[in-house]
Symmetry: D4
């Protein structure tokens, strides 16, 4: 469509219908969005395998289905966050229609289909307590879906650092660490004292009273005495997974 | 520069050096920003007479001078907000160099040069107390600078509504009202009950204790029982002046 | 009990068993709380007719019943705030048992029994909108229960000041005004410009977004440009009723 | 009623019963509210077609019905915001009684009857994501109800600017733009860089964690680097619609 | 001026130039503010002796002088809050010009002239610590200036209740109690348990850390378990003085 | 396991397989966590009788059961906080399996099994109102479970200090006082004026409006004019119980 | 004075002037405050050696001197917090007058005179960084002044736990630990995992941005995953010193 | 030192003085911190070239000098943040003493000495306005100091995206992007739509009113609709530089 427009201008130049000067003017006044569209498409191809992601909260079941259908048709891939089991049921027929295997993550309310099969690099996800599991799962599933190898170690509270023992190899193999914690959010600082790998800290809403649904953990992480910790929004395991994968992707495997 | 690039492609098409298809491809992959630049320039011409505005706070004296010089050279116009008298002194030579009359607004810390001479429409600025004057001045000067006729009525507190009497004609002539108030920020609600003109409310930091430097006035204005009041950031007389002028500009004078 | 202790000391003095000096010492080291109990009881008699008030929220049904029984037995009076209809049902038998007429206020969740019959003075309650009615009712019922004449005018928004017309006499008759408003909380300022009577402002949680459940109205009221407005906690019609009655009680009727 | 009072004074002057000086005095001491009432009525006539609006939240079904009946009888128009379907059902008989067509907007919980038929000008409503739809609908329906032509473009996130392409004509035709966004609320800044039309920004509660139910988007919009953006309360599509219509109404159509 | 307008209409009726009906119409459309002005003036006479008060913060020295001059000329009275000694010096000549004795309160930054000489009733001001003295002084001076008898008791912390002993008579004589406290703001609750007089609580900014400049004391006072406490803005001794005087004024002395 | 590793190194030294220098190096590079594990285990033995505590909120029923089983097996003790009755039911079979008596605290949602039988010292728990009972219960049960003698006095509001009379002996016997209060949180200050024992203040979420779910009480307690009060998180009776027991444990009984 | 009153009553009983019953009645109605005074004095004697403490901030130099004089005369002891060097200079003559050695703590702005010489028990103060030193000094000096042995270990950040090595003996000897930290406030959690002694956590205002002057550290400490940590107000080393001494005092030395 | 202790144990094993079992026990009870020390030292060697960093704010001049001296002696490297020019002057002699070239960054208050000479990889730093320069400088200098190649593009506001044109090559060469912005903090979202590189967003305190010293920008960045953005504390250019270098270091150069 827009291509046609530009083609038309170019042909007019070619055939001498309009001068170069006029063509230049026409092109300049073409809305940059036309080019923008092209760019986005091109861009998307470069990032092959990374579909847009649907944030299900506050969306109609039917709307989600329509978007999902379009995504599955185009890319064979689908990632939906904050989706209830009801959503999963509602779009179930699509997976049968396109013959793509899908999975629902109960704790993190994630729907995933068309996961990247060949994983690379290594991302480690740690959390302070078992109540942080939903966020861990979201981070794990996201990074894994996008193509990173991921491993997790749960329940590493300040009083349970010994649980890191068996995971030594995993920690030193990881390119990036995702550290998930609620309450006082001290774990990233403690872990940060033990590694020189990039750390992505995810505050969770675990706690009560002055935990303020995760704000205290968030602020604690932003104020860590260990410099250079990347902080995410509260409970944002998805964002942590994406960033971990972005960093992981930079590294060429030998 | 970028024009040259496009010109080069177009000439290559014209002379048959490259095919239309190749040219299309080249153009598509040109960064949209090139077009963007053009758009902005073009845009700026359409909005003739509206120079970029410099926010002086936190900028070096010398940096401000360099940017100001460039602006005065190109457009003969200059508006600097949050500028100390020191800034005004520092860039003083520029006004002599370009022979442009400049003015410094003491209360609102505004520097202005090359004001639009032919004013149109009508903007009315009201405030609750004389302590709100700096914000009134900023709104007044900005809208006036951009080309709006502006009139002001000061000290119209909830207990001084009678001061509106002499201004009746002005109020009904105005296309837009800017209402400036600190403390409990009730004035826009009260004025809003008396007019069907668009109202721009500007909270000020006048007050103490739970006025929280204007936050209480801001929130009160956002919650006005009079629907449709446009709210600005605290003390943002500049923004109010711009919006008032934008609205005022929509109206064709008969 | 404690009386016995003091009696014992006094008798010992009377009979010469201990000296005045020793008795003085004994009395001094008696815990002041013994006196405290007496003081409270005595105090309560002075304030005759003002029973303690039960804040029902978060209390067990059975606990409420036990306290209510004790109150009705002793004073024949009862005021319970934040009580569901379930509470009213549960303690229903008590009213039959003591043959005291009770009343449940649906909107304000107030249970009242043994209301003072002879009312005095005059308290006026005004509100900004019909959504503020529960708080109005709580203030009205409380002051009335304690013995004040109360009258109310509803729905006096900034855009409905004309509704005050028919109430002129009432307003000038009132000793105290209770002004109830949510959203931007501007009404007390506006009313404050029209009267020299003490004004009690009650912010309500009516509104959304940056009304923050009444906090914006509260802060606006605390920052009123009309000096000397008494402010209550959010939705605290009960407190307003008590204060209004306290002020009203100061005035000797002629 | 009040007219009678004034008439009586005037007649007394006419017939010489009282002097001009006495009459002047009498008039001065007439409560201004009497005049106020007249003013409001007169005002309402000038703004013909704009009924008062009912904010349904926290109001009784029956109260809403009574007010609605009165409005429909007087003006044949009705706009109720934040109304559940239950409210719509409850007042349904009124529409049959007055033979006025009504409509319920599911997403924005708006009831509308007696919409202005002849629309004028042009208001454009844009939003960042499909989760913002309820607010878009409220803004759309309100402005349209009041008499503005309105068009909408959904799902224009920062990553979807290309969706603006097909809407170019609409954007340049619009007198005012309403931009609706949650999360980081960046869209108004981005759109603001592309237009010189007045922009009304509406933050929504879409997001989680530190989106704080829309407060982050609100503050971001108030701090936009694009000067002169009008900001509304969180989710306040209704207010945006009113303001857009007010501005739109200023413009004489050619 | 406006009087002239009305006079003109009345004379026209008197002389038969216009009909009663036309006159009625003319009067109705006179802005209510004209009447408003009269009302305010009349009102001010009723409240004889209570001058407007100047909030000096953020005002120019010269502006303050001009307003003060006008006030002293008209009423012979003057009250300026938040005024530096510099302000006092600057307006000094006015007191000599009008031969009115003035006083500067160092701690509370209050300027006062033309204090009411005949005092009535009784207001008691208590504070928790000597650091609260500036607020005590402001409350004391204000109520006294307006015409109330005032007495103060300082340094009555929770650990110093025994200091109330010598003041027993004063407390029972007072019609109203002003209780000033910073830090945890518990004093009004404690005093509230000992009296049935109206209590006006003033939070102060005394404290550090989570006293948040008085916000903690403010919220504590709004949440007092003693019902009916009137709360003021932080450090607002002036408002407390006004309210105390308003309440005090209701009581007829025998 | 790790012991084996160290044993192996030591044996190698013993048998001369490796030099002391090499052994030193090996030991140095052993992850400190290995030692850490040992430390924790050893530590746990020292603190014999204090099992880890499960925070049930946000955990799966099955997860809680698995952890509980492991705890009961190892230590015969179990303490679960924030547990619904459903949790209690779900893990019921475990108590039968291990033949350990368990108890469910309805108000504080606490599950307890294997309570320490021999109590020592004395902890007193006071609260301001009956609505604070759940927190009192949590503190009581926790300290008692860990091995402290605990006594409670309820409903000691600022207006009910006389209720302390009968508890005089208890108060003077106690080593530590836990003071629980919501609303304005003044009780710890008042009690603090009467004792030189360590006071642990627990703010509760009892209240409404600006009590902000306990934040006001919390901040008031942190700002107490009585120095040295230990403050806990909102509703954190559990933490108060632990601290009280820790302090109580320091004291040798005679 | 009040003693005289009671003495008078007692003598009247002794001499038979009044009956026991009347005397009882008289005594009951004596204001409890009379007893209160006695109690406080008596109490103070029991707590011998603990003078009242002066909070210097916001107090006049002269006021401080007067209070200090009175304290030095009565108890020979003096502790002033938040005192500038100017204060120290101003009250200097007092120390010469009473021949009591005084000391000024530069970092914590503490004045101390008449320190308890015989120290007992053991309090350990730890801090996260050298910027926390002023708070450490305040805690140290306070506890020491009151009579506790105190030792300190500075700069024990999360990344400097090895600095605890040399202090092992000190840590195990201590009865109480005061842990001081700013920024993310994680240190008390980490230390809490290593000890079963009572921990007093003091958040400091060290940090920037979202450290919010210590609020983040405060909330983190209140949310510690280690249960039973006593939390103080921000920078409140004084309070920590008092509490530590109170706990320390409970322990009988062998 | 600690090594000696372990050596001693090992030698005792070697010489048969103690059994393996006893040695094991001894080692187990060695404080893990001994090992911790070793670990830290070892660790530091692994991260060769990364000295500890001094946060100068709130530290004594002399303290800073002592620590700096020790650092320069040991590593020949020094990085001090938030240091005034006074600090730079004070420690100046050290640079002469150790013959190490130092540099002071005026805007970001950074002192740097012994910068890594061989830089690798590529970090790009972008900012929204020239007022953000101090933070840009801090990020730039930190990453550069640690050994990353860094390039910067200033003043890329939402309205100045065209400035990215000349920097295309730089952007595609960069491994990580640091995006610095104040006010509404929208730039990271906009840039995030154009790249798949990891983005580190740094909010700055540039702005006024509801920018809340950078909190609005911070929250906006945490809520970006572009997933996976790493967020730093306000103005924390230092942290951004460290994280960027950590990520950059992961990538092997070809």
């Amino acid at each position: 469509m827009d291509n046609k427009k530009i083609q038309h201008i170019l042909k007019s130049v070619q055939t001498g219908k309009i001068t170069v000067k006029d063509a230049l003017n026409d092109l300049k006044h073409l809305p940059f969005e036309d080019i923008g569209v092209a760019r986005v498409d091109h861009h998307r191809e470069l990032r092959h395998g990374i579909p847009e992601v649907i944030f299900a909260e506050g969306k109609d079941l039917e709307d989600i289905k329509v978007i999902s259908d379009s995504m599955l048709k185009n890319s064979g891939k689908l990632l939906i966050t904050k989706a209830s089991r009801k959503v999963y049921k509602h779009i179930g027929p699509l997976f049968r229609k396109y013959k793509i295997k899908a999975k629902y993550f109960e704790k993190s309310c994630l729907i995933m289909a068309g996961e990247t099969v060949r994983k690379k690099g290594m991302v480690a996800v740690l959390c302070a307590g078992t109540s942080d599991m939903p966020v861990v799962e979201e981070a794990y599933a996201t990074a894994s879906f996008l193509g990173s190898k991921v491993d997790t170690i749960n329940d590493v509270g300040v009083a349970g650092l010994h649980r890191l023992v068996d995971a030594k190899k995993m920690l030193s193999d990881a390119n990036v660490l995702i550290v998930v914690a609620g309450m006082e959010g001290a774990l990233p600082s403690v872990i940060g004292g033990m590694t020189d790998k990039p750390i992505i800290a995810v505050p969770t809403s675990v706690g009560y009273g002055t935990s303020f649904g995760g704000i205290t953990a968030l602020f604690a992480m932003l104020n860590s005495c260990v410099p250079g910790i990347a902080v995410m929004n509260i409970n944002n395991g998805f964002g942590a997974g994406v960033l971990a994968h972005r960093i992981n992707s930079l590294i060429k495997e030998s």
